[in-house]
């Protein structure tokens, strides 16, 4: 299986600030995605991180709020901008290859006060 590493694993932030989450994957992964898991809920896809170009966002998510970078095949960042308490969630980086399955990092647990 692929190895997905995320940091920070958790953080507590103040309203109005921004936080960048980093994700490193191993070479088996060709596609990278960012998911959000709100408390007690399932996973919602935020966007597909595209290497060297703008991410592809799902309905309800916009680049100004969740800017994503993927400068190379194995690294991506997600920024949660101008945070509010409603952004308190677990943010999960995931990667997939040709097998059709996704591998997940441990997640970044964000609390906004």
């Amino acid at each position: 299986s692929a190895v997905i590493s995320q940091k920070p694993s958790r953080d507590i932030c103040q309203r109005g600030t921004s936080l960048t989450i980093q994700c490193q994957v191993d070479s088996q992964v060709t596609m990278m995605f960012w998911y959000r898991q709100q408390p007690g809920q399932s996973l919602t896809l935020i966007a597909t991180a595209n290497q060297g170009s703008e991410a592809t966002y799902e309905s309800g998510f916009v680049i100004d709020k969740f800017p994503i970078s993927r400068p190379n095949l194995t690294f991506s960042t997600l920024t949660v901008s101008n945070m509010s308490p409603e952004d308190s969630s677990i943010y999960l980086c995931s990667g997939g290859g040709n097998t059709g399955e996704l591998f997940f990092g441990e997640g970044s647990r964000l609390t906004v006060l």
Partner: protein, 111 residues
């Protein structure tokens, strides 16, 4: 479009009893189906997957699932559960690595 319905939000069961977690899906294209497990304060771990071939799929930790195309189901089963199986279980459908997840089923195993 793809969607997943997990019919039970919580399933309580005694240790060593059998369990079935239900999952129904809809998809307009060929499907890949997955079950993931999430232990408290951890990420998601793949339990098993159906891509093609045999409709009975065996996974880790003694779990198995059966793909039923006519009923559009992919129910997860284990003949005898353990306390350590207590976790959240997610069914997912997808293709080209882009997955849609169900709302999850909380499996609570007690003595």
């Amino acid at each position: 479009a793809q969607s997943v319905t997990q019919l039970d939000s919580q399933v309580p069961v005694f240790e060593e009893a059998p369990v079935e977690l239900r999952c129904n899906y809809s998809s307009s294209v060929s499907v890949y189906l997955f079950w993931y497990v999430q232990y408290p304060n951890q990420g998601l771990q793949l339990l098993l997957k159906y891509l093609s071939g045999s409709t009975l799929v065996k996974g880790i930790n003694g779990f198995e699932a059966e793909f039923n195309k006519s009923q559009t189901s992919f129910h997860l089963r284990k003949p005898s559960v353990h306390i350590s199986d207590t976790a959240e279980y997610f069914c997912a459908v997808g293709g080209a690595s882009k997955l849609t997840f169900g709302t999850g089923t909380r499996l609570q195993v007690t003595l």
